[in-house]
């Protein structure tokens, strides 16, 4: 039975069939990969590139990163403090949704991109206080238009750095590699 199948596959028609199957699987996989590499559709096409280039500090818009577990996304009040005075706000199509939200007072529903699962407890404060730069984990935001996640926050990503920063310090390693530090 298997031998007959192999014989059939070796003739030209069989080879073409193999080729088609291979192409189909490959393109589905490629498409799947492609979709994971895209930034999600955001309510406002907020360009990090432009804003960071003006020299606005990350912590101005994400102040929670220095204080607590989550960095936070700025509310429209913060956007409006600048954009109210910028002429382009009245004309730009990209900024029309912002104007709408400010006028109606409804919150902007950003789609989260940088996320760890519910069973992982992450804390920005500890990392920022330890001198970790935002780029170490979020990539270079000065080149990004719409925020995307440059790397998957899997366990190896966290532990690699934790083990490296603990170095020879056994007590610190115990703390940083302990399951109870991240999972509870």
């Amino acid at each position: 039975m298997i031998k007959r199948l192999f014989d059939w596959l070796k003739q030209p028609l069989g080879l073409i069939a193999v080729g088609i199957v291979f192409l189909a699987v490959f393109s589905v996989a490629a498409y799947g990969l492609y979709t994971t590499q895209q930034s999600p559709a955001q309510p406002i096409q907020f360009p990090h590139k432009t804003h960071v280039a003006f020299g606005i500090q990350c912590l101005y818009c994400h102040p929670g990163a220095a204080k607590g577990p989550s960095a936070g996304i700025p509310s429209q009040a913060k956007c409006w403090a600048c954009h109210q005075q910028i002429a382009k706000t009245q004309t730009s199509v990209l900024l029309a949704p912002l104007k709408e939200h400010v006028e109606s007072g409804t919150p902007i529903e950003w789609v989260p991109v940088a996320q760890v699962p519910d069973f992982v407890q992450f804390n920005h404060r500890a990392h920022v206080a330890a001198g970790q730069n935002c780029e170490n984990c979020h990539g270079d935001m000065t080149t990004q238009t719409i925020a995307e996640n440059p790397q998957v926050f899997n366990m190896g990503f966290c532990l690699d750095c934790h083990i490296k920063s603990a170095g020879e310090d056994q007590a610190k390693l115990n703390k940083l590699a302990d399951c109870g530090t991240c999972h509870y």
């Binding site: 204080k67 699962p117 519910d118 069973f119 407890q121 804390n123 404060r125 500890a126 206080a129 115990n174 703390k175 302990d178 399951c179 109870g180 530090t181 999972h183 509870y184």
Partner: protein
């Protein structure tokens, strides 16, 4: 039945193992059995409500429960003091070595028994091997009708079906206190924070703190009272001390 040789092994372990880090003292004489700790624990730790049917099968879920025992023959029955029972955070825990998935491990940093929910595959060996019977298993995905999801604690993982869970000594509060202290450049002060059960107890029957710090309130209480640790003779090195009758 413990034979003489068994006891020797126990003694050996007791002297070898180091003491714990976090500990609890429970005064059974002032515990009124009001169940406030049970409710507070369920709120703090997102413990599911099992409902009457599953409870009937003995599948109720609590991280802390009030045990009551009766002494004597009818009509001369006497109730013993209420006994809040939760994970004793054993220094030499019987639940840990039996887990085939290494989901319940000992924390080197905090000296607690951890339950890594995402690692757990639900064999229930740990619960069967726990002499205190304090582990509970998620037999189902229990329903949380609106608006109950709004009161979930974001600092604690919401467990799903097939996962074992148990008291963590409110490890999320330990981490929060440590993080706050670190942000302010100091050490955690004794009494700065406590577990949900201790916080809710109207009679202050539960005290929580560092047992490795001889100045802390728990250490002082342990030193000055005649406390017992339950089933200590098994060599589990529990970290909860009970006071009764005095």
């Amino acid at each position: 039945m413990a034979t003489v040789t068994d006891l020797k092994i126990t003694e050996l372990k007791l002297s070898e193992a180091e003491g714990g880090k976090w500990g609890m003292v429970i005064d059974q004489d002032i515990c009124t059995g009001c169940q406030a700790c049970v409710a507070a624990c369920a709120m703090e730790n997102n413990v599911s409500f099992v409902g009457d049917v599953d409870s009937g099968y003995g599948r109720s879920m609590h991280w802390i429960r009030i045990e009551r025992f009766w002494e004597g023959e009818y009509p001369e029955v006497k109730m013993t003091p209420n006994q809040p029972m939760m994970c004793q955070q054993c220094g030499s825990a019987t639940c840990e070595p039996v887990c085939p998935a290494f989901a319940t491990v000992h924390s080197q940093a905090e000296q607690l028994n951890l339950q890594v929910y995402n690692r757990c595959v639900g064999t229930r060996y740990c619960a069967n091997n726990c002499p205190y019977q304090v582990r509970s298993f998620n037999w189902r995905d229990y329903e949380r009708p609106e608006p109950l999801p709004n009161q979930l604690n974001p600092d604690v993982t919401v467990r799903t079906r097939g996962v074992m869970e148990k008291c963590t000594f409110c490890i999320q509060r330990i981490h929060k206190a440590q993080d706050n202290a670190k942000a302010e450049g100091r050490e955690v002060v004794d009494g700065e924070f406590t577990t949900a059960c201790a916080q809710a107890c109207p009679a202050s029957a539960i005290t929580f703190g560092r047992v490795d710090d001889s100045e802390s309130l728990v250490s002082q209480l342990i030193k000055h009272g005649h406390g017992v640790k339950h089933l200590e003779e098994l060599g589990t090195l529990p970290n909860v001390t009970y006071f009764k009758g005095g």
